[in-house]
């Protein structure tokens, strides 16, 4: 295990073991920052190569009693929290160690990353990393690649989850952004904030303070839109059997 980490670090040359570096720069998001404006300037960041596993989350729960099933305050996680584990500190047959952890709330995911000296990625960071296929940093214009992602969404969610890291790494060296689980992002709750205030004269306009409003562009990008809709529909204490997470770091803070 220790050897594995050391090897990974040498092989990757990245600042933190298990993390891949994603370049910064201008990125065209499917979620515009303002109507008609979807170019986002991103700083370089580090992203975990794989989603957090059951084994990793178990180690966190062992060290942080507050985040054990049965201990976690109700405002931070709903009743489904880690419900597939056989006990608060035992995975059991329903949760293999190398499967991505699921049934974790946004609060729990955030606390896990914080305990590693990391954070959740923002939506734009996640989307940037997930735009890559195995060879291109932005494969979104390729209909065949889009179809591959859509095929995953059409698979039944009752199937058992595969282990993390089995799919080929993308051009950044990151695995499983598509095809395994949905993933929490830092701004999950606010992706569509203000979306209802699009129309002038909307009776709901009073609900919103800002002058602008969000609209979704690139409407052919259904896979991304589904993800945005799913993330923004869940409360931060919500959990589902297909929603996990991975952490991110800023490069300068990344050295262990």
């Amino acid at each position: 295990m220790v050897l594995g980490c050391a090897l990974a670090r040498v092989a990757a040359g990245a600042e933190a073991p298990g993390y891949a570096r994603v370049a910064g720069g201008s990125f065209a998001s499917s979620l515009p920052v303002a109507p008609g404006r979807n170019e986002v300037a991103l700083e370089p960041f580090l992203l975990q190569r794989r989603p957090v596993t059951n084994a990793e989350f178990l180690a966190f729960a062992q060290g942080h009693p507050k985040w054990r099933r049965g201990e976690v305050p109700g405002v931070f996680a709903d009743a489904g929290y880690l419900a597939h584990w056989s006990a608060p500190l035992a995975l059991g047959p329903g949760a293999r160690p190398e499967e991505p952890v699921t049934r974790v709330s946004w609060f729990a995911a955030r606390a896990y990353c914080e305990a590693q000296g990391a954070r959740l990625p923002t939506w734009y960071e996640w989307e940037r990393a997930a735009a890559a296929d195995e060879t291109r940093s932005d494969a979104r214009g390729d209909p065949a690649w889009r179809q591959r992602i859509l095929d995953w969404y059409s698979r039944p969610s009752s199937e058992a989850l595969p282990d993390v890291g089995l799919s080929p790494a993308n051009a950044w060296g990151v695995h499983d952004l598509h095809g395994l689980v949905w993933e929490w992002v830092e701004d999950a709750g606010s992706l569509l904030a203000g979306a209802d205030s699009r129309e002038q004269g909307d009776p709901d306009r009073m609900k919103f303070c800002g002058s602008g409003a969000l609209t979704l562009e690139q409407k052919e990008n259904y896979a991304v839109l589904m993800r945005v809709a799913m993330l923004s529909s869940l409360p931060a204490a919500g959990t589902t059997n297909r929603l996990g997470f991975r952490c991110a770091r800023d490069p300068e803070a990344g050295a262990p």
Partner: protein
């Protein structure tokens, strides 16, 4: 019989715990979230500063010139509906979405402009990180826009003395009758008072 004895024993135990000040924060209390705040006088405080009082809490920012003044006047109208003892029990907490620009001086200016009662109101700011967690708990998503404005769902949340969410209203500019009824109940004299 046994059940009622047990209930009474539990009640006594609870009473002792409360008397000793040892009662833990309830699992469904928003005060589970520990958020340091700075108020309009520059004083360090915390999100649970009004523990023990019913509380109206909202996110806002002072440079917002349309909805935010309406939010403040809606809060003032709500408290004006209460009788004096009830109003005396109520506290109001505003947390800024714009910690960069909403310095304590700026918050104090806004408090003066709106003539809020600073004996019971606090205008505060939090760190960006804490703010996101607070917005998540209040179900009040916000998004910073490139022009420095924010899109945010303006909601008023009513918490009980222990920080549990009692009611929520998105009605601004006029009174929300249901919400007012919940506010009246939450600020009425506690039994034995």
């Amino acid at each position: 019989m046994i059940a009622s004895l047990r209930a009474r024993a539990l009640g006594i135990a609870l009473g002792i715990a409360l008397a000793a000040g040892a009662a833990a924060t309830p699992s469904d209390s928003l005060y589970q979230l520990e958020i340091p705040l700075v108020d309009q006088s520059g004083r360090a405080t915390a999100f649970d500063r009004e523990r023990g009082h019913p509380l109206l809490v909202s996110l806002f920012y002072t440079s917002c010139d349309f909805v935010c003044p309406t939010l403040v006047s809606t809060l003032q109208r709500l408290e004006a509906e209460l009788d004096v003892p009830a109003r005396g029990r109520l506290r109001v907490l505003l947390v800024s979405l714009d910690p960069e620009r909403d310095t304590p001086e700026q918050l104090a200016r806004a408090a003066r402009r709106h003539r809020v009662d600073l004996a019971r109101w606090s205008l505060t700011r939090a760190s960006e990180d804490d703010l996101r967690a607070l917005a998540a708990l209040l179900g009040a998503p916000y998004r910073r826009l490139p022009d420095g404005e924010f899109n945010h769902a303006t909601a008023i949340s009513l918490l009980d003395a222990e920080g549990r969410l009692v009611a929520r209203s998105e009605t601004l500019g006029r009174l929300d009758a249901d919400f007012l009824a919940r506010l009246r109940a939450a600020t009425s004299a506690p039994p034995g008072d």
